[in-house]
Point group: C2
Chain length 477, copies 2
Amino acid sequence: MTRYAAMAADIAQSIHAGVLQPGDKLPSVRSCCAARGVSPSTVFQAYYLLEARGLIRARERSGYYVASGAHHPPPEPEIARLPPPASLTVDVSERVFSILQASFQPGTVGLGSAFPAPQHFPWSKLAQSLAACARQAQPHDLLDDLSTGHSGLRRHIARRYLADGMPLHMDDMVITNGALEALNLCLSAVTRPGGAVVVESPCFYGALQALERLGLQAIEVPTHPRDGIDLQALEAAITTHRPQAIWLMSNFHNPLGSLMPAPHKQALCDMAARLQIPVIEDDVYGELYFSARRPLPIKAYDRAGWVLHCSSFSKCLAPGWRIGWVTAGRFTQAVARQKLTTSISTNAPAQAALAHYLEGVGYDKHLRQLRHILLTQRDAMAQAIAQYFPPGTRATRPEGGYLMWVELPEGCDALALHQQALTAGISLAPGPVFSASQRFERCIRLNFGLQWDARTIPALQQLGQWCAEMQQHGIRR
Amino acid sequence: MTRYAAMAADIAQSIHAGVLQPGDKLPSVRSCCAARGVSPSTVFQAYYLLEARGLIRARERSGYYVASGAHHPPPEPEIARLPPPASLTVDVSERVFSILQASFQPGTVGLGSAFPAPQHFPWSKLAQSLAACARQAQPHDLLDDLSTGHSGLRRHIARRYLADGMPLHMDDMVITNGALEALNLCLSAVTRPGGAVVVESPCFYGALQALERLGLQAIEVPTHPRDGIDLQALEAAITTHRPQAIWLMSNFHNPLGSLMPAPHKQALCDMAARLQIPVIEDDVYGELYFSARRPLPIKAYDRAGWVLHCSSFSKCLAPGWRIGWVTAGRFTQAVARQKLTTSISTNAPAQAALAHYLEGVGYDKHLRQLRHILLTQRDAMAQAIAQYFPPGTRATRPEGGYLMWVELPEGCDALALHQQALTAGISLAPGPVFSASQRFERCIRLNFGLQWDARTIPALQQLGQWCAEMQQHGIRR
């Protein structure tokens, strides 16, 4: 972490802890330099960062002050108390489609979207790589690397993992049509129809749709809004129901934003090896961390090869290119063959172009900018929720990604809010789409990675107001 | 058909029928002009074409003569006599992989490949389109058209069908990661694990692998090397076994090269509507016809919406780009949702680039050239088989595509030949990979769309010699 980022983090913590209160004046730049032994530009950068995050405000000729409401981010939700998990037939796909399809209207304030705004990505650089590779392509390039993918691209991905402290062999990697194909190939490789699979509660609806399509049962295990899946409940569910696999998201979970602590990841790997159960890990948000270092995925702790690790560039670099990958441990050959028999291989020009782009240093620079935008917008959204939503509203504080889970107070209903929002051109993702048992009827998932503009705060204000009205006048459907 | 092509076709027919014998002199250009009322250049073009196809030879200062062996293309195989079809559990995938994987070695004479040689495709034009589109791309383009695909590309594909006399609505079309994904989505949409599906015998091994992966039984129906699936046997199989779908290839079948006559296609559509059974049609070779007009797919005769029609650009224009499509009649929404839940959407830059390429007139010109190459090489391969393979060898005469089915005489074994060929750097596709019941042990599939070079004829000669040795000395394994 840079000096100014560390300094900003210290001050933010003081504000959140109430040490610094709204209206309090921050130390002058000169006194800060003296106290911390840093340069004035470091202090300025830290203050600019805190200002962008909505935590402090500059007053002309006077200095910086803690912003009003800055010390009240909404409280975090508790883990949902659920009965011991049952093995459920999944029948959600139609419901999910009918709920979410309406959200894709152009012009909508996309709080319900599952992607960051396309404006956040380095399109012109990617286009240059695509054009450069297209000019150089040789006919045989297009048929080489059938199935497993472009060797240069696999090498770059493996190098990035290595730099983060996770050695992976590029020959164990298969390039896929986005992470969703990777996850589906893994699920097909390790399950048989009629079996059961553990998912988080709440979980990414794509996992539920995959189970439904393959005729698999779902076992929903309670998942903590900050720390991820409850390991005790997980082990109990495995020994009770003998599932064929676990499907989960350890870093910046969709929809919770939760992050499994490293010891939990280690414990999960040990459990998987002990109980001989495949773990399908969806790590599409892993690169979008707000801390100093990338949180390692579960795969990094996997000595016995039970973890099938999936990721992609769709959330970090190139949505719409549909380039993902999987490294599947002991199931690598099975997954590679699933790929060959379902879609043969992945678009060759896009793979070559990404390999070309990754040759340069642009990706890390882009990621730093993107993380900065997302962190800033996370705080702005938390502030807006604290300010405009009724008391009793809770929200997660994701340490990465761009998805926030909001628990509305008693008397509110997520599906009713979703309907009302759509009529006003606002989308959100209502809680029940994240559960095979249709729980979380008072929760919503909001995307803080959208293009933040003049409509965003009014949209959040409007959502808060509707929630208050529901509490007062009851839910209209 | 052009005048010269029509003239060449007439002469070729006379040679095949034995009216013109090897060594016979063809009429002089002058007398041809007089007799047919055509220009000298038309006659020259016809003679050049016949020469390229290996049917005639020029002798200096003397004129054109029928080539030796030209009147003896190998006889066509008969339809395989099979017992009434049973419903079989499919367990072929591992075997197919272990047999075919060895064929992918670089430097192999690719008679076993399932793709035409990459040299046959307009890569530089495609690269120009890719670069032009990449420069113009707007961020929002990349997220629009989620799932169903680029609207410009769907419009161009629909227009091509319309020009061939098959009106299709672009809104009923989903762009996929090649035809194989399209076929798999269709299969998932219309079947449930444990059900059964009719396939041709022999059939594309990808169909068998798909059934195996989804836990479906196969019902193999005899298929004629020239006319495609036996409709009487098909109806009997449907009424006996009540399958959930039929999966077939009506135009230039893989591996047979067969072409269903139009009345058969009409009858199949009537049967599907009467028996209410979905027909999954794989039409990836439809554009590679040698006759004057595109043979319409089964879908063209489908009034009731039971046909799920799949195709792609992988065999005609851009292998490795993995761009296919499906238009699924009454199952369109189900297939679109399968797509959204398995891979969301298809690579956006490649779709835009293909739409850009199809704006021009290059595609039809490219197809004409490709068809000409394939037809020429088909005849050259037929000649080589007639000349170098032992008596009793039979081979199909595909009217399109690039796959020829060769039935070796008694005493030969396709798997043994395959093994022997691999050691000499020659690939072929042995018959048993095209059957759930491992039939066709004396058949091989050869690719005449390969890069025809100085190694091709010697490779075919060598294969023929090994066959003769097997007949004499028995099969060594």
